[in-house]
Amino acid sequence: MPTATYAGRDVVVTEDGFFADPEQWTEEMAPELARAEGIDALTEDHWRVVKFMRREYEEKGAGPTVRVLGKTSGVPIKQLYLLFPKGPAKVAAKIAGIPKPHGCI
């Protein structure tokens, strides 16, 4: 698997750029990850979502989908799209260093 460097540390990522090992993630890496997704500065609202994703992953072993995020994070879906225009669940998961939220079959 490819590696990438964030906050001066080498990490293993999947083909589409998600952390292969979420343990390698640190908060210092988030701003750089965000910039790669076209988000220049992480606001308090961004952080709220990123930290929520991280907690959900730690508790449940998977990041939530946009719909669950809208129901449970306290940030409505419309605002989630304003924060992460390219897709809240995917982009926030990437910034939070957790695996890509899997679609269902």
Binding site: R67, K71, Y81, C104, I105
Partner: protein, 413 residues
């Protein structure tokens, strides 16, 4: 006397009850099935109703008649379950205690969760074929639709039978061609996924078929609102898609009663369930199968059928104090009707995506490829459903573990 209560008398509840009745001594075990009504809908038939290929009357039978002798049927809504006291509180105010509970109440459609979807235009210009009323209303609408843009839209996953919207699109192409109106109709398939389907190999095949049939494919469209009056789908990321007729697959969730039952469900009211044993994560004496669970398998009748085999075995093991069997592998198979008397077959599980080849072995039905044989399979399916699947029979050549022998795995992707 111990009591097994099965909530839901649809596909999974019926076949689960019948399998358990065959396995357990009626002198020792009482089995009760609860459902809110006595109308069992063969849901795969809903796809054909809008095109006049079947009618609602043809796909509905009494639930009670599908249950073997020795199974009690209670027609009542479910208010909630109290896991502490092991009691089901029914809608009619009565209660039902259980030794083992099986949750089989399926998925609920929640169109209200999408802004505007059930507002002006709903059932006039905006339809769904996922309910009997919707499918019947759509039949009239398609008959009268003589031109313009028809969009088929999945709001978000999970949905029941994720291939049904594609089948609807293929059949719509066939329907308008047969009637000589296809050149007046623009067909557009609008999905939140990044392709025609969730898994890459099938997505490629199905996108190819959409192209051949002149269907425009719009991907990564997350429907935020539907304007039935103005004829527009709005996406959360600001895109707008005009339509003359919209066929929308609404959001799905688990049943509201699950949400009212402390500790049973997740944020969407699905029941967190062990992927391989089908025991709920809430309590050891609560099991679940079918669309009601959160397992990452297709929400399909074929899955409920394969789960039934494992579930019935595990309920017996649990009652006997034995270790559970963790062999459910997420096996699903589905025929995809593609119009003009042809269909395609998919067979997959938790770990293996739908692949080309043959089912169930090197010689058999062609996989991921259009054929008349598969269409005949689909036509035979209602018979197999009522007379094989629901009675809880093992079907010849079709078993819970997914076969791998006939599949062709690509070297690299």
């Amino acid at each position: 006397m111990r009591r097994i209560v099965i909530l839901g008398g649809g596909t999974g509840g019926t076949l689960g009850a019948n399998r358990l009745r065959k396995a357990l001594d009626p002198d020792d075990y009482e089995i009760v099935v609860v459902d809110r009504d006595d109308r069992h809908v063969y849901q795969p038939g809903l796809l054909f109703v809008p095109f006049g290929l079947t009618t609602i009357d043809d796909i509905v039978r009494p639930r009670s008649e599908q249950l073997h002798r020795g199974i009690a049927f209670r027609s009542s809504g479910i208010d909630h379950v109290d896991l502490e006291t092991e009691t089901v509180h029914l809608g009619d105010g009565t209660t039902l205690g259980y030794d083992v509970l099986v949750v089989a109440t399926g998925a609920a459609l929640v169109p209200e969760e999408t802004e505007g979807l059930t507002g002006p235009g709903w059932m006039e210009r905006v339809f769904t074929f996922y309910t009997p009323e919707g499918a019947a209303a759509l039949r009239t609408a398609l008959d009268h639709f003589d031109g313009g843009r028809l969009v088929v839209n999945i709001v978000d996953l999970p949905i029941k039978c994720p291939v049904a919207p594609l089948e609807f699109t293929f059949l719509a192409d066939w329907f308008f061609r047969e009637r000589g109106r296809r050149d007046q109709v623009e067909l557009t398939y609008v999905t939140p996924l990044d392709g025609a389907f969730t898994t890459p190999v099938a997505a490629r095949t199905l996108a190819g078929l959409l192209g051949e049939k002149d269907v425009e494919l719009v991907t990564e469209f997350n429907t935020g609102a539907v304007d039935g009056e103005g004829g527009r789908l709005h996406s959360y990321d600001g895109r707008d898609l005009p339509f003359d007729l919209a066929v929308v697959i609404p959001l799905h969730g688990g049943q509201p009663w699950v949400g009212r039952s402390l500790g049973l469900g997740d944020d969407l009211n699905f029941v967190p369930t062990d992927l391989h044993t089908l025991q709920s994560k809430a309590r050891p004496n609560v099991f679940a199968l079918g669309d009601a669970t959160d397992v990452p398998a297709s929400k399909a009748g074929s899955v409920a059928h394969f789960e039934g085999e494992v579930l019935a075995g595990n309920v017996q093991r649990y009652l006997a104090g034995q270790e559970l069997d963790g062999s459910f592998d997420g096996h699903a198979n589905c025929f995809i009707e593609t119009g003009f008397g042809k269909a395609l077959l998919c067979d997959f599980n938790y770990d293996t995506e739908p692949l080309p080849g043959h089912y169930p072995d090197r010689v058999g039905l062609p996989l991921l490829k259009e054929s008349r044989l598969n269409h005949l399979g689909k036509l035979l399916f209602p018979f197999v459903y009522w007379h094989g699947l629901l009675p809880g029979r093992d079907l010849p050549g079709v078993h819970a573990p997914m076969p791998t022998r006939g599949k062709v795995v690509e070297e690299t992707v």
